[in-house]
Amino acid sequence: MRPLRTGSVPDGSTVSQCETEMPGNVLPTRNAVPSGDTVDVWWFDTRAVAVTPAGLAGLDRGELGRAESLLFPADRHRYQVAHMMLRQVLAGYTGTAPGQLELGRERCPQCGSLSGKPVVLPGPAPAGARPVPSFSLAHSGDMVVIAIAGHAVGADVEQDSARCVCSLAGDLHPDDTAWVTGLDGEPERHRAILTCWVRAEAALKCTGQGIGHGLGGFSVRPGQSAALAVNGCTVRQLAAPPRYRAAVALAGGATAVCVRKGS
């Protein structure tokens, strides 16, 4: 895919983003976990990544079972690519081979079930072990986004729906519902709804609740400032490919987003 560009995003704010291009499927084997207020954001177009035996060998039993359960080859391909790339990206930050990484879930902070934030489980720490990063994986349509940070991070991406999404306005915070319904024209309302959706979902993935308990507990509509502080996170809109909306949230403050181009 083409590298993403810094510039104006749908909410009118401008996000400062660095860009790094990676040739082909070759990912760097050594990345420093972003410090403090920086998030690394990796984008992959699943159509441009081949599923390889070596890549599949890195997936764990749960991931392989999930891939196998998918009915349609296209869904299976997207899922396999998303998880292969997640493990490759994490391997670059941790120095642990993709197949040796143990991934698990924390408990949901709201209900206590094991449906909370996906995490890299710390293994026995060998000499020279690097810090374990926080990560968030999202995929929609053909696109995969992976956010990496030094502390809790959440990311979401949604492809524009082929259908009217106005029925989702009622799931948002009442202030956001009022903002969306007051906009002129359906395309504008649809864009606004999806923009609010990805911002809310990114914030809820950052805290580990996910959207299973609803996503209307706080307002996320874009304002004048580039960053929005909500739910203990700072939420930023990401520049996304055409027909996609995406956002990232970081516990505390996220003042810099570094976009990495995958393949």
Partner: protein
Amino acid sequence: MSPPGGADAASVTDDLRAFLASATGRDELLRLPPGTALFGTAVGLDSLTGTLLLREIHRRFGVDVAGEDLNLDSLATLGTLAAFVAERARPQDGP
């Protein structure tokens, strides 16, 4: 979706398939077997499409799945969801 009018599970199943295919732009969803798990496995519906589906069911059939089925057992498969909706369907205004 076609208006429900005395909905039976087979016609609701067809309606749900048609909605999903239309919402995602994926014609293969028109051929989903009734035993297909809609969420989590099998077709990998994302949360946004799943929520859109439940809102459409409420609009078309007057059934609030999340409100009436607290355990969400009805969401196990396309067939269980269609049966749940058909049993409770109340004719709604047209589109």
